[in-house]
Amino acid sequence: MSDKIKFTIDDVEIEAEAGQTILQAADAAGVYIPRLCANKNLTPHGSCRVCTVKVNGRSQAACTQPVAPGINVESESEEIKAYRKSLVEMLFVEGNHYCMFCEKSGNCELQAVAYRLGIDAPKHEYLFPSRDVDASHPEIFIDRNRCILCGRCVRASKELDGKNVFQFVGRGIHKKVAVNSDAKLSDTELAGVDMAVSSCPVGAILRKRVGFAIPVGQRLYDAKPIGSDIEASRTDK
């Protein structure tokens, strides 16, 4: 037991393995920290910033910050909760998200995190960008209107599928996901079963002909809020 690292999240004592990130340690202990770009099968990205916590009073992304003995992590304070709401709202207004008729509704992590954080409507102004849709591929389509630039597809294609189908191009507010071809998704190596497809947390990369297959009520986040699976394993109850 001597190699365990002890620290606290919101005054709850957590035991972690050396080398874990705060997010990994929190997950293992059954403490949910909201996140969007992080996925346990992928290298941490640190881009959405929704998992922002304060570590000894300093803002850090829980998904990239390693645990250290005795650190004091603040996650559910009013200040942090307000930041997270603002960040998720930014992701909504940055793109064109239409939950009411999106195939991903009910299974969408952006929507689920928004519900969990109690967002009813964004306080930011909608930017209504003009973005591309690419439906050239026989099995998959990309709707960049719903992309939140989390980079999961970029990482999954590289790290899990052993391909290099997606990459970011442009910068700033004009940054977007591009595909590895002259223009079209159909000219890439992407296959319907690729993890790059299933790793998308929102309705930006979707398989064709399976939309709305699951009835309302049985969808992933219909019964319980996102993070419930993590909290179910909480050890200090």
Partner: protein, 605 residues
Amino acid sequence: MNENLEAVIREICQKYANDSARMMDIVRDVQASMGGVSKVAMKAIAAAVGVAQVEVESVVSFYAHLSSESKGKVVIRLCNDFIDRMFGANRVAETFEKEFGIKFGETTDDGLVSLEYTPCIGMCDQPPAALINDRIVTWLSTDMASRIAKAIKEEGNIDKLNLPNGDGNNSHPLVNSMVHNNLREKGDMIFANFVPGAALKNAIAETPVECIKNVKASRLRGRGGAGFPTGMKWEFTRGADGDEKYVLCNADEGEPGTFKDRVILTEAPELMFEGMTVAGYAIGAQSGVVYLRGEYQYLTDFLNDVLQKRRDAGLLGKNILGKEGFNFDIRIQMGAGAYICGEETALISSCEGLRGDPKNRPPFPAQKGYLGKPTSVNNVETFCAVAKIMEKGAPWFAQKGSTGSAGLKLFSVSGDCKKPGVYELPFGTTVKELLQKVGAEDAIAVQVGGACGITVAPNDFDKEICYDHLATGGSVMVFGPGRDLLELAHSFMEFFEEESCGYCTPCRVGNTLLKRRLEYIIEGKGTPEDLIYMETLGNTIKHTSRCGLGQTSANPVLTTLQNFRSLYESKVKPSVDGLQPSFSLDKAVGLSEEIVGRKSIHHHD
């Protein structure tokens, strides 16, 4: 044609050993030879260096000076930062547009000229300024713009104008530039006499560990602005595991209003290279890289020549100054127009041939930096200070400046003052003292630290410029009576929106939202609630962004809100009907009207 293109690209890639880490050089060379990096070119580069095509596209699309579309034979990049606009950049822009018959952002039909705007090019002391391909033209007037346009139309270049060279090494045959140093006050440090080798001799007389101890004793802190103790950075890098280590010099001077590194690179490159070599010795590195901003391309031949002379003199290369096993050499890496690359981990990304995205920390560069090896990244001026510390001793340096901020510091002063230029002054100099020196006693505001710094009001002019009070990497911009500080804040927000890498949400989206809200206020459509909104949003961006850019990008709004609140208050008014005055129904239905091809029947405002 395509075969020819592929042959040219293969040759360029071979020049860099088909090494994808040299992607910046490859795409810059391809662009120089073909006017742009087309999709076909990207595919050929990808094949030659063994990466995916989209990886090349990712790099090309990131940098302002690179383009997938073919640009004109002559690209005019006019600096349109606030200072240049104060001194007539808009009129110069109109002249260029009229002369060439195109708007900024366009290329003439014959492919001769492209007009583009660019943020600060490091010439705020001689505005308005522009880059004409790699050449810099300064103190532009509408007359001069007409002459330039005429020459380009007639000859395809501006050689026949015989623009007079600037002072000092600006007239050096390898520089040959009309840039002026405007070196107004020399202290006894950076621009004092220096005999090449003097610092190195003292350094190698000690052990590397003693060397670092000396730098620590001097209390030198990073001159780029962040102020991390240099000795500690070196100690971490020296102590990190790894045989291969690197010294990187941050010459990506991009903070608006900063141009002191330009003058160092022109007049004291030996000192900087010597400081880097000392660093190599101290941390145990064999290679150094100077990351030079694309805008300073005009200095590369000159700098490479200085490097060669140092090699010939035994100050670089193998067994430096006869010290067995002390090997160190330096290469210059060109940037391509990205402010973010001044952030040290973004700089490393760019040196590695990637997009200039900052990296996640930890690991810090001292543990895992350039090419995954322990790396120390220091500012141009920091290396110069190191060389002087080695030459004159740590106590000599430590006793200068103020308690928390040792030494002298270079300030780049621009704006409404009689004597814009570079000043070498002790840390702890007050704003008021500086204003007296530069001839700007009537200033209504001073921007200390560049776009990411603080807009200082007259009642704070007694504050000291140093790490603990008003920190700056060198930028000091002065604004006289009549200048519009909300427009100033807006121009900085435009800058950050443009220069955000887009990696993290708060910086990518938040800065756009903040800029827009400020625009509503400037347009008279703001409410008192908008001021609170901007403060809250600004603080969110500040506390959740991933790197220093986002953590400081809201400062133009936050510090003007704090120090010049009455300017905002005079602009906003409560909404009379409870509706948002910034909402325009006309605008909101505009696209729909366009699509259906008729006007909406709603009540137009």
